[in-house]
């Protein structure tokens, strides 16, 4: 469960977020600079805020610019006690390779594999699919959706097609506040921002 009633300030802009999520995948959307990433950092205790915050622990977090450490895929996985990979994992045949040489999609999958091995009850993912092709994006979306069946997953994204595909409830950041909306309403509100 995630319950937040928080206020925070970035560059003299004030943000208010009030939400409660019991379980499942929830998207976090809004224009650039709307406070999405800062909100994740508030949840992680990395940014000062006022208000109350309750989350199931442990937390898992994949940042916007995730990069594996400059070591083999195997070493990166061992750091998180990952001993076995599923047979269909794209990393299976690349365990010996330096993780920096993985493609964008494979790096994202590596980050996800690492963090999911910690079995977080609350998983925060910041724009992991931003630079990925469609198949990699869909694979990661599905992985997160499945994981959401027994945890709270927040996925920050700018991709409207993700919203259309997943039809997940969306925390929409607009004009300094955030509202948790059903997928269709969030999409319509996003369309309105274009006018």
């Amino acid at each position: 469960m995630l319950s937040a009633d928080v206020r925070f300030t970035v560059a003299q802009k004030h943000f208010t977020v009030n939400l409660e999520i019991k379980e499942g995948l929830c998207l976090v959307m809004g224009p650039n600079g709307a406070g999405k990433t800062t909100f994740l950092r508030v949840l992680l205790g990395l940014f000062p805020f006022e208000g109350t915050l309750h989350m199931d622990k442990p937390l898992g977090y994949i940042p916007q610019h995730y990069q594996p450490l400059n070591a083999s895929v195997e070493d990166n996985l061992h750091l998180f006690d990952v001993k076995h990979l599923p047979d269909n994992s794209p990393l299976q045949s690349k365990r010996r390779l330096n993780a920096m040489k993985l493609s964008g999609g494979e790096k994202a999958m590596l980050g996800l594999t690492q963090v999911m091995a910690l079995q977080p009850k609350t998983l925060l993912v910041d724009e992991l699919t931003a630079h990925l092709d469609q198949p990699s994006t869909v694979m990661i979306e599905n992985t997160l959706k499945n994981y959401g069946s027994h945890a709270v997953v927040l996925l920050v994204t700018h991709q409207w097609d993700t919203l259309l595909r997943l039809k997940a409830p969306t925390l929409l950041f607009l004009n300094g506040s955030a509202q948790l909306l059903p997928a269709e309403e969030a999409y319509n509100r996003l369309l309105e921002t274009l006018n």
Binding site: R41, L44, L46, L59, G60, Y61, I62, P63, Q64, H65, Y66, Q67, L69, N70, A71, D75, N76, L79, F80, G111, Q114, V115, L118
Partner: protein, 207 residues
Amino acid sequence: MDLALIGRTLGFTVLTTALACALALVVATIYASFVKSPWSHLSFWRAISSIPPVLVGLLVYLLFSRQGPLGFLRWLFTPRALVVAQFLLAMPMAISLCLQQRVNLPRDMEEFIQVNLPSRRVKAMMLHLRGSLVNIGFLTWGRILGEVGAATMSGGAIVGYTATLATEIMYRTNLGQFANAVAMGVVLLLISLVPSMVLEVTGRAQR
């Protein structure tokens, strides 16, 4: 030309330099991995890493001389004192380079480790630093390999005992034994170039 002496001095130089570098790398890796805000320590260690070698030699001399606090060890003018001096020369440089490597880790990744691996942060940092240790080792190797001041004051540059190639070149030149000095100079030049060559070859292989 005294080939036996050159060989013996070469072996001693490589051994003591390698030992000092290895010790410096171990200390630097542990220090840089434990530090929570590397940028706040970086300027200090960067400044210390340019300390004149002769001052390090003086410090070691004062520490290990009979009246010094560590005089009871009787290490002055032994290979041990020489390694201590080389270690003290190499360590600040190794630490500043390791800290620089830590600073280069993007903020996102610092937070990724801080949130996901709070109890294994040091292990993660060591893994991050490991990839750069060869480079850092070679740079510190270059810093202490041809050094004369600290080596002379701490080891005494005793021929066949604590003389390194660099101190021996100076000694032979003073004696007018230019053939020996030039031969040792060539050997010193070659072993100082080895790291660059290794880095070049491995770098090309990785590209």
